[in-house]
Amino acid sequence: MRFWRKVLAITWKDVLSEFRTREIIFSVLVFTLLVIVIFNFAFGGGQDTIQMVAPGMLWITFTFAGVLSLNRSFIIEKEEGCLEGLLVCPVSREIIYLGKMLASLLFMLSVEVVALPIFAILFNLDISFQLVVITLLTTVGFVTVGVLFSALAVNTRAREMVLPLLFLPIVVPLIIAAVESSGLALSGESWGEIASWLQIIGAFDVIFLVVSFWVFNYTIEE
């Protein structure tokens, strides 16, 4: 129980700082809306085209939004020298990982909770329960590796350039599964149709939660 109290303390620290600085959720949300609008110009056209490209649009948007917000997650720590403070805290590195991961998950989900309905309204799509589950599970996958690489990237010279280079190839299976299953969900298929995709997403989540939990230690040790 004490383990989770410590984890939540770190998450709460991030939430508090987000409330005060409003650096992540709001700006990423605006960015997300901008990307959706720009996609509209890029693909234009009628409802048929939209139906076809909608899942791709949705996940490109969320992937880029994810890169953006995950980058901030550790850059904020670095800028004010908070990372050192965090490292001297009497908690293990695994706790820091879980705390930061939960916070990033919370931020990304907050963005998606707003962006998804707007997306559906703008393009006349129906959000099914399946789509919500897909989004939730994929976002978990994003943050499990994202927080790991974000911690790594912030300690390099190129900082925000490094995260997408590492993050994007690793999440390829997630993006494929998310796009394919979202496409099926948007056209009203049943759970059975999307099950195999959900399994891939679920497997990714579990495997990388364990792996990241284990190797996170090596990305921030000084």
Partner: protein
Amino acid sequence: MKENHTFKMVLLGTTTIAMVVTMYLIFIWVPTEEEMGVVQRIFYLHVPLAWLAFLAFFVVFIGSIMYLWKRQEKWDVLAHSSAEVGVTFTTLFLITGIIWAKPVWGVWWTWDARLTAALVLWLMYLAYLIIRPYAADVQRGARFAAVIGIVGFIDVPIVALAISLWRTQHPSAVIFEGGLASTMLATLLVSLFAFTLLYWLLLMLRIAIRKDETELKRLKEQRD
């Protein structure tokens, strides 16, 4: 040191002979495949390259784990060198695939499962190589690279699974279903053997060069 040198020379000799034999088998000995014609011969280079790229990345994975565990520089040198050879082989694998695809499938590139997986792999290990110079010091770069080496390799089966579920048009399991003529199989196996030697040779040479580089750096620092 002396013994090591002799071994390298022997390996160089063996690799050269094996490569010459492989080339003879591929271009002169093995009969031309009926349907695809002469372009099918690229298969004897393409398949060994793919297997060895995979082997190289597996060595990166092992080297990375050992480095994080033992913190001995030699493991990092092994992983780094293997990654470089692996990326080179993956590049050649992609290029041979593209050359083969044009006459057979009529297009240079299709988003076929294995080609796509190879491309993703290539990008992943390119990032592995790119990250090092960005780190503040060598040890940190090695640590970061090791993390990527581990996470990347674990990702490979998931990438393969997702992409193959996504689409497949590759001439897949001919080799395993016994659909390959015995002369072709023999050529493939000899080629595989020759390329494995080549991988080993390149890896050893790269490690030796890297050691010299480190030594040179140390001497320079001493002088300053």
